[in-house]
Symmetry: C2
Subunit: 421 residues, 2 copies
C-alpha cells in the first residue's frame, strides 16, 4: 500500500519551449537551449522578466561523453544570464530532464523558490554512430552493459517475451511505428516529419530515378517488412522500430500556483508526479513490464487522485516501438497483454480514445536524451492549451494529459500528470 503523497504548495506551468530536434552539425548545446528558452519566454501570455527566475534545473544524460563537457548547470545559467543564481544538473539517463522538472516542482512546493526554470539538453550528433552506442551503454545498469546488451537488444528481448506470452507479432509493432509517423508531419519540431507512406513514395521515386527495379509494396506494412529498407537491428527490433540520434533542448517555466495569474490566465497545473527506480532486466520478475514505471504511476495517480481512465492522452517513452507497447500497459491504459490489439484497432491514434505520442514520439520527433522528458511535457502542455495546431487532440473538454519518461533499461521512470482546470 503506497502512501498518498501531496505537495504543500501547488505548482503550475507558465510557459514552455523546445528547439527543433534533429542532427545539427552547426548547433551546440548552448545554441539549442537558447532556441528553447526564447520560445519559452515568448509563450508566456502576460510576459515574464528572466531576472525573476529564482533557480534552474537542467537535465543532461552524458554530454560528458558526447562533447567532453560536464557541469551543465552553470553553463546554461551563464547562457541565459541567470548567474549567480543556483543551477543544478540532474541525470537519470533518458529521463534526465523529467528529473529536472520534478526537482523544480519540489523546490517551489517547499516554499523556498517561487519561479524555477527546468529543462534539458543533449548534443549527440557530433560523435559517430558507434561512439553514440558506446555512450548510451553508460546508462544501462551493470551486468547488462558488461555482457554486451545494447538498447535494441534489450527491447528486442522484451518483444520476444511479449510475443511468446501474448501472441503478438512484428505486425503489431508496425502499427505503433505507422501511428507515430502519422502524427509526425503535424509537428513542426519533429526530426522525421513524414508518414511511412510518404517515405515509401519517396523511396520509390528515388529508385525510379536511379533506374533500379521498384518493389511492389502494397502498403506500409509491406514496406516495413522489406529487409532492404527496414533491416533487423536486434530482432524483432528493425530500423523503423528504433528512435534516432538527435540534438535538442527543451525548457519550461514553473511557478507557484499562488502567483501563476501574474503570468497567464490559462495555466496548466501539475496534478501528479511520480518516479521509480529499477534493478535491470537480470533482476526483473517480468520481461513485459517495468516495475519502476508501475511505481511512478502509482505515486502520480495517488497524488492526483486520478486513475488511468482519466488520462485523455499521453506522451510515453517510445525509444523503441516495443517500449510504447509495454508502457501503455504498465500505465494502466490497457490491461497487460491487451495493448497490442487495442492499438491495432486505432485506440492510440490521434482521433482514438487514448491518443499516444501525438508529437510523433521519440521515434519521429527525435530523442536528444537529456531534453526528452521536458519535451514530452511541452507536448502535453501544448495540447492542454489547445495550441497543437494540426495535431491537436480532437476532443472536447481536453483537461488531463500525462507524460511518461524512461531512463536506461527502466532504471529510472517518471510519470507526470498535467491538468487544465
Amino acid at each position: 500500500m503506497l502512501k498518498k503523497r501531496k505537495l504543500a504548495r501547488g505548482v503550475a506551468i507558465a510557459g514552455a519551449g523546445m528547439s527543433k530536434f534533429g542532427m545539427f552539425g552547426d548547433k551546440n548545446s548552448k545554441d539549442l537551449f537558447a532556441e528553447a528558452f526564447s520560445e519559452m519566454l515568448a509563450s508566456i501570455d502576460k510576459g515574464a522578466d528572466p531576472n525573476d527566475i529564482d533557480a534552474l534545473y537542467v537535465g543532461n544524460f552524458s554530454n560528458d561523453y558526447f562533447v567532453h563537457q560536464s557541469h551543465w548547470g552553470p553553463i546554461v545559467s551563464d547562457l541565459i544570464g541567470l548567474t549567480p543564481k543556483p543551477a543544478t544538473r540532474t541525470e537519470g539517463a533518458c529521463a534526465s530532464s523529467a528529473l529536472a522538472f520534478r526537482e523544480g516542482v519540489f523546490a517551489i512546493a517547499s516554499g523556498f523558490y517561487d519561479i524555477v526554470l527546468v529543462g534539458g539538453v543533449e548534443d549527440m550528433s557530433k560523435r559517430t554512430t558507434e561512439e553514440v552506442a558506446e555512450g548510451l551503454a553508460l546508462a544501462t545498469v551493470p551486468y547488462e552493459g558488461e555482457v554486451g546488451f545494447t538498447f535494441p537488444g534489450v527491447f528486442g528481448a522484451l518483444a520476444t517475451a511479449y510475443f511468446a506470452k501474448y501472441g503478438a507479432s512484428r505486425e503489431d509493432l508496425m502499427n505503433i511505428t505507422i501511428k507515430s509517423h502519422n502524427n509526425a508531419p503535424l509537428n513542426p519540431k519533429a526530426q522525421f516529419p513524414f508518414t511511412i507512406r510518404e517515405i515509401m513514395e519517396m523511396r520509390k521515386k528515388s529508385m525510379t530515378r536511379k533506374g533500379l527495379p521498384v518493389p511492389d509494396w502494397s502498403d506500409e506494412k509491406a514496406f516495413l517488412s522489406d529487409p532492404s529498407v527496414n533491416p533487423a537491428v536486434a530482432w524483432p527490433m528493425h530500423l523503423y522500430d528504433c528512435c534516432p540520434i538527435s540534438d535538442g533542448a527543451s525548457c519550461m517555466l514553473l511557478v507557484a500556483e499562488d502567483i501563476v495569474s501574474n503570468f497567464t490566465d490559462d495555466p496548466i497545473y501539475v496534478a501528479g508526479i511520480g518516479q521509480g527506480s529499477g534493478r535491470g532486466l537480470h533482476a526483473s520478475d517480468s520481461l513485459t513490464s517495468f516495475e519502476a514505471t508501475r511505481y511512478a504511476a502509482r505515486e502520480a495517480y495517488g497524488m492526483a487522485g486520478l486513475g488511468p481512465e482519466s488520462i485523455q492522452f499521453a506522451e510515453v517513452h517510445d525509444c523503441f516501438s516495443m517500449a510504447e507497447l509495454v508502457h501503455v500497459e504498465d500505465l494502466g491504459f490497457f490491461e497487460p497483454g491487451k495493448g497490442f490489439r487495442a492499438i491495432a484497432e486505432g485506440a492510440t491514434a490521434l482521433n482514438g480514445p487514448v491518443p499516444i505520442n501525438t508529437s510523433g514520439g521519440l521515434k519521429c520527433k527525435g530523442h536528444p536524451v537529456g531534453a526528452t522528458g521536458v519535451s514530452q511535457l511541452y507536448e502535453v502542455w501544448t495540447q492542454l492549451r489547445g495550441k497543437a495546431g494540426d495535431r491537436q487532440v480532437p476532443k472536447e473538454n481536453l483537461r488531463v494529459g500525462a507524460a511518461h519518461n524512461l531512463g536506461g533499461t527502466g532504471g529510472t521512470c517518471t510519470f507526470t500528470i498535467l491538468e487544465r482546470r
Copy 2:
C-alpha cells in the same frame, strides 16, 4: 537585495556515515557506498528501517568518465534494496553531493516525502593521474578547459592575484596546509592522517635508511619550501597545496522535523541552505572571490537568520590551500584580504576562534569529488553531536556549524548551516 527564503517544513538529520577515503584498488563505488550506508544506519540512535526510506539522491561527478558508468541513481538504489523507489543523481562537479543534500531537503520540505537518503560517491583511482586530470577538466566551464586551464592553474592564478592585491605569500598558504595536516591524524577516515612534521620525520628516516644526505629542515615551512619534496605544480600551487585523487562515499538520512524524534533525541537541524552558480574566471569581476559562494552564503544566512559571526566552525572546500583562503573571506569569517593574517595567528586551528576543516579538509581527508559535499556535512553533524573524538572542537555550547562546497572553478557553490538546538 535577496529575498528571504524559507522552507514550508523543517528538515533534520537522523544519521550519517562515510567510507574511509583513499585510493582503493580493491573497492568500487558500490563497495564504498555500502560502507557509508552501513555506518549511517548504525548511527541512528533509535534505529531505522531502510524500508521506510522514501527516496534517494546521489551526487556523482563523472563516474561516466572514471569508470565508464553513468546513471548511478538506480545502481545505488538497487544496492541498498530501495527499488522501486525513486533515485536521482545530481551533478555539480565537486559539489555534486551537496546538491543531492539540497534536493533531499526540498523533497521533504515540499511535503511529498518524509524520509530521504542523500549521499555521494566517486571512484577515481582506477584511471591514471593523466586521465583523472582530463576527467576533471570536464568540470571547468568552456573557455577555461579549452585553453588548457587546469585546476592547479586556476588556483595558482587566484593565489598570484591575492598575493599582488593583499601582500600575502606562499608562507601564508603553508599555514593552511600545516593546519589541515594537524587535524588529519585525529580523523580515522582521512586519506593522509599525518602532520607535516610526521611526514618530514618519515622522509628523514627513509633518506637515512637509503644512505642519502638528509637535509637540515628546521621546521615544517622549511620542509615545504624544499622543491625536492614539495615541487611546484602551477606556481604558487605546490604539491602540498593540492588535494589528492580519492575514492569514497558518504550518505546521510534526512527526515522531516516533525518525525525526527522517532529516530533520535539528538537531531541536527538544517538551519540554512544556499546555492549559487558562477560564470568562470574569464567573466569574473574578481580573481580573489567567487560570486557563487557569496550568493550561496547570502541565501543560507538569510534563511537561518544568522550571520558569519554565528558560525562556530566550518568545513570549506579546500581543493587547494588557496581555495580555503578565498572561501573563509567569501563566507564572511574574515574581511577580504585579512584572512591570511588571521590564519597565521591560528584563528582557524582546531582550538582557534573559527576552526576550519577539522576533518583535515579535502587536502588530507581526501576528495572523491561526488562524495565530498555530504562528507563535509557528516563532519559538521559529528562535531555538533560532540562525537568527533580527538578532533572535537573544544568549545562549550557548540551549536552552529557550516559546510561550503565548490564545484569546478566556482561554477556551482553551496553553503549549508546546521544547528543543534
